[in-house]
Symmetry: D2
Subunit: 323 residues, 4 copies
Amino acid sequence: MKTFFTFLLLLIISYPVVSQTREKGPWWPNATWGAQDEAGASNWITPDKIIKALTYAKEGKVFELGHPYERTMPFGGTRSYKLSVVDTGPAAGTNKQLGNEEVISGELGQVGTQFDGPGHIGALIKYGDGTMKGVYYNGFTQEEVVHPDGLRHLGVHNVKPIISRGILVDIPLYKGIGRLTNSYEVTLADVRGALAKQGIAEGSITPGDVIIFRYGWAQLWNTPQEYNRNPPGIGLEVAHWLIDKKVTMTGADTAPTEVQPNPNKELVVPVHQELIMKNGIFNLENMDLESLAASKVYEFLFIFTPTRFVGASGSPGRPIAIR
Amino acid sequence: MKTFFTFLLLLIISYPVVSQTREKGPWWPNATWGAQDEAGASNWITPDKIIKALTYAKEGKVFELGHPYERTMPFGGTRSYKLSVVDTGPAAGTNKQLGNEEVISGELGQVGTQFDGPGHIGALIKYGDGTMKGVYYNGFTQEEVVHPDGLRHLGVHNVKPIISRGILVDIPLYKGIGRLTNSYEVTLADVRGALAKQGIAEGSITPGDVIIFRYGWAQLWNTPQEYNRNPPGIGLEVAHWLIDKKVTMTGADTAPTEVQPNPNKELVVPVHQELIMKNGIFNLENMDLESLAASKVYEFLFIFTPTRFVGASGSPGRPIAIR
Amino acid sequence: MKTFFTFLLLLIISYPVVSQTREKGPWWPNATWGAQDEAGASNWITPDKIIKALTYAKEGKVFELGHPYERTMPFGGTRSYKLSVVDTGPAAGTNKQLGNEEVISGELGQVGTQFDGPGHIGALIKYGDGTMKGVYYNGFTQEEVVHPDGLRHLGVHNVKPIISRGILVDIPLYKGIGRLTNSYEVTLADVRGALAKQGIAEGSITPGDVIIFRYGWAQLWNTPQEYNRNPPGIGLEVAHWLIDKKVTMTGADTAPTEVQPNPNKELVVPVHQELIMKNGIFNLENMDLESLAASKVYEFLFIFTPTRFVGASGSPGRPIAIR
Amino acid sequence: MKTFFTFLLLLIISYPVVSQTREKGPWWPNATWGAQDEAGASNWITPDKIIKALTYAKEGKVFELGHPYERTMPFGGTRSYKLSVVDTGPAAGTNKQLGNEEVISGELGQVGTQFDGPGHIGALIKYGDGTMKGVYYNGFTQEEVVHPDGLRHLGVHNVKPIISRGILVDIPLYKGIGRLTNSYEVTLADVRGALAKQGIAEGSITPGDVIIFRYGWAQLWNTPQEYNRNPPGIGLEVAHWLIDKKVTMTGADTAPTEVQPNPNKELVVPVHQELIMKNGIFNLENMDLESLAASKVYEFLFIFTPTRFVGASGSPGRPIAIR
């Protein structure tokens, strides 16, 4: 019941969309990294943070946290991924060189294991002068951001390599089940329960940490229809906790990380807005956390280096954990 | 003069292409990682190797070693790269969510900062039974490897994350010049001279290390015609030294890493064949080593995680050094 | 001087953008083909019109009116075209079947010889209720039309095959020069002069005819920089004459058909708006009219069948004339 | 029984693959159009042929013979088609111009209504000198034809516009059924029976005619799994009859036009080889013949203008019939 009221309260605080100007708005942390910042919460990854993060690798064992990219992946909506091998021609030189390359096309950055950068999600809001404007992280407007050849601001290339302390929050472990059910909203109580069960003190979380949620959903990766249907996930309650913790990135083993649909049916991916747009906190989706969980690895060196596609909304890549 | 004879001798040893079978051939290190191996020299990256590599990060300072990806990059031949921003539609929900994503197409893995995987380069050779066959790393044949939807063997997804000790070999520093000249072949003497000048003992190189050559060529990145015209690079002499050292990966700040054209005009990218095809040693091309060199960072934690595009010949990505 | 005033008058009539509603607006010919029409001026191509058009083919000689599609074409802005051949695999069956196919990508419909469909061009206008809305042919709004997976209305697949009487208007012939100069605006006097010289009575033009302008610009096709720099073309004066004549389609041997830039520097492709948006008159660009002109063929059976890419703004294809 | 022996005989004549040289081979009609010909049976479309063809349009009524292109089409194997709308930017000029374009990618020419050009299908054959070589129409070799950036010979751009007399052969009409059954091979007796029932004298067929087979299969277009499973079609018997008739093009309402699989399970698309490779007779697949058949239109003006994608194996487009 208390959770429900907290939830309501948060909703009231966040919505409806309020009037604001770029100079003065509740949504972007200008105070933190300045009005021109486009790197968001990756700014928490300082040299000291990195040196500390490396100490979580005790044995050098690597865990893959992403899925390989292939045409049989579950896709959101009508997104696509296509790889075609191209033979570079007949044997060349007296050394009879042969070669292959490939043409790849698709919504890279928004298919497979996918990283949402600062320009992926915005909102249409009413400005102080009464006009409606699209707005993105740190107050950049639709007009400043969107361009057919690549975002003019907030492209994913602005995000710093994410080398940090990673924490796995294994919700099914806490619940004692194999995987969560459709549309289940993970509560803050769940998160705290899981951390406690895993032996991680909530107070140990420091700015720049990467907090990844396991729902057990990667088990459905090879059955795309089931995978795509109403996944469980965090909601606004946990989103605000992540914001309080000043994490650099969250992520999970579903396509949106957040619960689908939101319990408030009038909201469309509100967690994305809270994290990415308002706080520059990134979101790595479609992860595969099964082997990490099976090995009971809950704290680790986390590495993800978003590919610097200039002006892209997101990035594919290969997140790993090193214990 | 001695170098020249060594070079000749190496050529004679390596060419012309000799008859061999998959079971018995001088070209692939079956003995090392087994007949089914597709990970090549990334197998050198063991847990112990990783733990040792992390110790090279003393301060946590990150250096970008690659270029951002954009349509103005220098391209090899007719390769291409295209990013188009797609607006995901009108404001959704009462939270007025806006979104962007992108469609990307092109020879990803062979444009921009590009990593050559085990299936990129092969050779047409005469087999013991007299037939000519295309052959790749570890003896996989053209028939086993090539498929229009993705390489059936030796796809880049088989390569392990490359987290190792990195060594920069700064040839222009050794030569006392800004950058090398067109078609200059870097000799083993140059490499040894540079290592000595940089204070790195050749004997300290151990299997799995990553050795990266700076030619100063990234200075030409923004003038594609100059960048693409006959870059300097290593030749077969240095390639064989790299093989002896059992490195996991080499790379440089030019498109082919190796000198273009080869001094022996009859050979087409022979260093690629020696390294990738015969020894499973990978090659990261079109790097940007200027800031690393300017900071005189010669030993470092090197991180590159090839994106697991299933069946691809190569991978884009974001190599970094951490001092 | 008179032309200049006519021009000014037309500008005043057309601009600034006036308030209107979908139900009542000066811009779309609801009266002609109904409020749901998406086929525009291709509706003029009736069975009778086709039977009459066929009579212009006297000898059966075919003239190609388009350019072949290749990567060396002049492109507008950052548009692109890429074709990669894909080998479909090893010889199959005892008949040892080999096969090739290709992957093509790019702004098809807006590269090379390109046909602008009804959803290509719109305008932002003020509606009766004071709101600003994007609007397209026949009053369809931005919201009704635009969708990331294909236009929801006014896709090029709605256009009927264009089989009609074609008329070539050879302006350089009339002017006695090889080709027009940069940014020259073709006047109505030019058009009338050319028709007269060619022996075509203006009064013979009937609804559904296709009127194609030759500027001699295809001579620059192989020098893309020259081709793209400020081509000559028709302006609003001739556009309104085309509208009066109720043509189905116009076209020319430049990228925009209309003069670039418009003599009124504040207007961006206004002829496109007049023809496509307000009147559903289509525009076939980047034609090659040299052989037709060399053979002095001024009236002909014109055939162009826009490819039915559902929801596309335009179409590539192969326009031909048959004398 | 007689048919069966004819079939066997044809098989024996055609297979196994015989030794031949480019200069002397049974497979390509050098004698007809010369050793350099790349236009194949489109050469039958002479000016006289066109003038005669136009006379089949009596009423000017147009029938669409192809399907629109969309992402829900049935695809062969892993082929793909993707269209993404790109907004060209904010309102431009005082005329507030808005614009849309699209990025399209996929195996164009081999998806949807698709035209197989002269370079689509070849065979691996033994040459006079004992070597095995890939060979295509008119004796062009794999080496001469295949290039990653586009076929160097036999690209679809060599095919002339196909404007000819069209004949619909409605097999289900003859059989008195709604559509043929899976894997049914249409016999020559079927074809002759259908022509007779439709009132078309076989003797009226002249070189350059276009003969299109209806199987009723377009009824399954919206159920891709059923559509793709073992369609009926012509076999080698009818293929040889088409060759005798010197048609320019055949086609049908299935993906391969020919029966799948071939009754001789060792043969892979042998009709493609007979028609395209050996005789330069083209094949238009995935047609929609339902409305034409419903209107009992069996002879007509046929128009298909392959898009001149340089070096492509095939072409999309919009075939039409005009009665």
